[in-house]
């Protein structure tokens, strides 16, 4: 046996033992872990406190309000990965679609008809998951992932050049992705800019009025709960994620087609 393999096996055994030692005290999670959770659970939708996010859904409140900056950087990382992937395959995919794609390309008529019927449903489900992200489990990223299934199904069922011919090009998707990211950025500094204009104190990523910072986004619009910035974040994140995934699928399928 080569010494490298022996080293790897010893490392595996040692690290697995370490993990087991660490986790043996958490076979059933202790009550100490609970104290951190109680703060978020109590304040996430509590009009009596001044530190609330006014969102019934705890996870979205943490993702976009309590820890909003983390999520902004996470979105930035995804965007940078997308840019890196595009720069790796640049020149390998054709930007302009061919003029003639035969109607017989793709699967049979039955599958195409069913796809035409179900694609709007997929998009509707994705939009529903994203826009209700502050009320029910879900959010911008999950909704955007669901929406991106529709173009992928179209690319598989029809030919992969079909969506290009219909105008869903990589440039447009990149522009849509950038618009989503700009929307996220503008929403994050909305209260801050309003504070600059009105002469009040406001913070970046501020959602609801806090003690000492009396400005905040409206929590209800026309009697409907939108949880301030959370609704806008989910909306723009849905656009960004859906466009990003569509871009990846287009590049992967078309680059694979050209190079075999």
């Amino acid at each position: 046996m080569k010494p490298v393999n022996l080293l790897v096996i010893i490392t595996l055994i040692l690290s697995a033992s370490f993990l087991l030692t660490f986790a043996s005290s958490y076979i059933v999670p202790t009550e100490n872990l609970r104290r951190l959770a109680l703060f978020y659970l109590v304040t996430t939708y509590n009009p009596e406190t001044q530190y609330t996010a006014l969102s019934p859904e705890g996870v979205t409140a943490i993702v976009w309000d309590y820890r909003g900056l983390d999520t902004l950087f996470e979105t930035a990382v995804f965007f940078l990965a997308l840019i890196a992937a595009l720069s790796l395959v640049r020149g390998l995919y054709a930007e302009t679609p061919p003029q003639e794609v035969s109607r017989e390309a793709g699967l049979s008529t039955i599958v195409k008809t069913v796809t035409r019927i179900t694609a709007p449903m997929i998009i509707a489900v994705g939009a529903s998951v994203a826009l209700h992200g502050h009320l029910t489990p879900g959010g911008g990223f999950q909704g955007g992932s669901i929406v991106a299934v529709a173009p992928m199904v179209f690319m598989v069922i029809f030919s992969s050049l079909y969506v290009l011919r219909k105008g869903v090009t990589t440039t447009k998707m990149l522009v849509l992705r950038s618009i989503g990211l700009i929307g996220v950025g503008l929403t994050s500094i909305a209260v801050f800019m309003a504070g600059l204009i009105l002469g009040e104190l406001g913070y970046v990523f501020q959602n609801m009025p806090k003690p000492g910072a009396p400005l905040g986004m409206p929590s209800h619009v026309g009697g409907t709960l939108i949880s301030g910035t959370l609704w806008f974040f989910n909306l723009f994140e849905m656009f960004a994620v859906a466009a990003g995934f569509t871009l990846i699928f287009i590049v992967l399928l078309i680059a694979g087609k050209k190079e075999g």
Binding site: V8, L12, S15, A16, L19, L20, A23, Y26, I27, V28, P29, T30, E31, L33, R34, L36, A37, L38, Y40, L41, V42, T44, Y45, N46, P47, E48, P56, E57, G58, V59, A61, I62, V63, R67, D70, T71, E74, T75, V77, F78, L80, A81, L82, A84, A85, L88, V89, L92, L135, T136, P137, G139, F141, I248, L252, A255, G256, E259
Partner: protein, 135 residues
């Protein structure tokens, strides 16, 4: 056996499965020669660790009470919020795992395109053959 013991047993089964999954994934990353299988093993590893984080945030079982998702479905009165905070699972690991999933997706995306470039250069994704080809 009462319900609490059954539930503890099921939780421990899940935990042991997570450890087995981790070991299998690390084995796949190190010893599988094919690039795609290495990437698959990496995603299995990251998913297992995410599940482990969610497990740590899972609530200690209280007899006769099911843990609830961290979503408040009733009016935000004081009594409702207190009972909600007693029964809901920890939302913080779930939010962190959401972030980790997206970061892992970005890494996987980059690795896939890197593998694509490897294939266009070497016409193979087998690590043993790529090593033979002068790096």
């Amino acid at each position: 056996m009462d319900m609490a013991m059954v539930n503890t047993y099921l939780l421990i089964v899940a935990l042991v499965s997570l450890f087995a999954n981790t070991i299998i994934a690390i084995y796949g990353i190190f010893f599988k020669p094919h690039y795609t299988k290495k990437v698959i093993s990496l995603t299995i590893l990251s998913d297992t660790l995410n599940l482990f984080a969610v497990y740590l945030g899972f609530r200690r079982w209280v007899a006769g009470q099911n843990p609830r998702p961290p979503v408040l479905v009733s009016e935000p009165t004081r009594d409702n919020i207190i009972s909600f905070a007693q029964r809901a699972v920890d939302p913080l690991p779930q939010a962190l795992v959401l972030t980790a999933i997206v970061i892992g997706l970005a890494v996987t995306l980059f690795l896939i395109f890197l593998g694509y470039m490897l294939y266009t250069h070497y016409k193979t994704l087998d690590m043993r053959e790529i090593r033979k080809l002068r790096g």
